[in-house]
Symmetry: C2
Subunit: 317 residues, 2 copies
């Protein structure tokens, strides 16, 4: 005789079995767990489940079949896929916070250090068996500007401080943070960028962030500055960036996110001089990071308390 559970969790993820094990190990009360690694497998059981744990792209596929859904815990920070016109909004949507900062910091400092040490030039020179390599620079004393000073931006600032850099922050509100040496508000964006060796955007996709980095901003930057976008593609005017790189208004751009993903094969960014392209992998999801957030929210869910990191469907975050 199988005991009937009131809460039925569908885990839809290529890591579904890893998640299922971690969540089962927590021994949560009154919870039946069903892992599915494909949308097809999930579809068979979808209408019996009231909770979904999934990344937004897979959740988007299965949502119409989840006729009894009460709560969706996203495994990603960016949930725009679920906020478009015509998307249902008749359930609780919770996001993820506080886990991506150190991971994204590893990405950002990988490419900042490569830039200072001219690692790709050295790599090409090695292929040509050439001992004479360019003199490397140092992070120490450089200035980094971070757009978006939530938990991710502050984690990047902490690493910058470890390497003895000067940190600038850009934020809509006049807040002050110990990791940030100088804070700038939107009306001072040109002052903000004009001193920077590195401009890093971790901004999410909202109506307020569209093309915030445009040709005016790029022209105000130093010619030896490097732009890094690990937030969302909408923040950057890609055509303006290509012009800026071609006219050497800035030294380079490291892009993990794009207006259209996957970046189309014919897109000029692939071989624009100074552009480094990675495929939206700056902060992957690790089940070890997401499971504690789910567990905490599940305990709140059964106690009928407010969930953590609830997304406002109107605001988009």
């Amino acid at each position: 005789m199988t005991e009937q559970k009131n809460n039925r969790l569908l885990i839809l993820s290529h890591n579904a079995h890893k998640y299922a094990k971690l969540i089962a190990d927590a021994g949560l009360p009154d919870l039946q767990i069903t892992p599915a690694v494909t949308v097809e497998k999930a579809r068979i059981v979808a209408n019996q489940q009231n909770i979904l744990l999934a990344p937004p792209d897979l959740a988007y596929e299965i949502l119409p079949a989840m006729t009894n859904l009460q709560w969706l815990q996203s495994t990603w920070a960016g949930v725009n896929k679920l906020l478009g016109e015509g998307c249902r909004q008749d359930y609780l949507l919770t996001g993820v916070k506080g886990v991506f900062g150190p991971i994204m910091s590893e990405y950002v400092f990988c490419y900042i250090l490569m830039h200072e040490r001219k690692a790709l030039q050295c790599y090409e020179l090695q292929k040509a068996r050439t001992w004479e390599m360019p003199r490397p620079g140092l992070l120490r004393g450089r200035t980094i500007g971070i757009m978006g000073v939530g938990s991710i931006g502050l984690a990047i600032a902490q690493t910058a401080k470890h390497f003895n850099m000067t940190t600038y922050g850009y934020s809509r509100s006049a807040i002050s943070k110990p990791e940030i040496d100088r804070m700038f508000q939107p009306d001072k964006i040109l002052d903000f960028v004009s001193d920077l060796d590195y401009l890093v955007s971790v901004l999410p996709q909202t109506l307020n962030t569209n093309h915030l980095i445009n040709s005016t901003v790029l022209k105000a930057m130093k010619t030896d500055a490097l732009l890094i976008n690990v937030g969302r593609g909408n923040v950057l005017d890609e055509k303006a960036l290509i012009r800026a790189l071609n006219s050497q208004d800035i030294a380079g751009a490291v892009l993990d996110v794009f207006q259209q993903e996957p970046l189309p094969q014919s897109h000029p960014l692939w071989n624009t001089k100074g552009a480094i392209i990675t495929s939206h992998k700056s902060a992957l999801t690790y089940p070890e990071d997401i499971t504690p957030i789910f567990i905490n929210n599940y305990n709140r869910f059964i106690a009928r308390q407010d969930l953590q990191f609830c997304i406002d469907f109107e605001k988009g975050y």
Copy 2:
């Protein structure tokens, strides 16, 4: 009427004028400063100088002409060039400590982060306009082993701790350091390396360090481990390394130092799979770092006190 100074400093360096300005700005008493950017220019005045500030390679050239030399302040940490058989030892030789740690840490973590993020693979995939890129790893939770836990090794350990790594140290003496989770002595070298994701040597060249990293050590390492040598080339048996890389006993090696430098163009390391070659630039000398050491030692010199970082010609450090 020019006042006669008792101490006459020859600065022999491609940065001689930068050094001369920084030292002149300090207003040191009783000191005449002569900068020379080439050995030829230095030779003209060499016999009138009692103090030399120079890198060991240039110092080696000018030493025979410096008939009144009392003290040589090296601008590098490695002074082996001045310790060979037949080298004069009738002067005070002082080295450099405490400045290269953060600089070398930038090099080490550039290449560790590139390895985790598979940055060179992604770079080649970008050239082929390929969106599908390999899944990156994380530093968090990896284990790094550091051979040589002086100021440079500890700076590397501090950065490792910032990235939430586990740190092992290898040292001849049984010391304990807050940045090092576990310390190993020479009789435990195989235990030391067998757990490591990253093995970093910052060891200097001494009789005790010759081929410390040999085929036995390489075979004891994990097959996905990365070796990084930023110390001295004598520490590594290069032939054993080439065999280890070709048989995939380890995943790769990042080498900034070699048994013979420049690395000969015909050397097999240039295109051994998994080998990354840089040209002894992991810790360049910056006059801003060296000048305070010179100033402090000059004040001790005129006060007839012991100088800092004196090299013992017998021990070699």
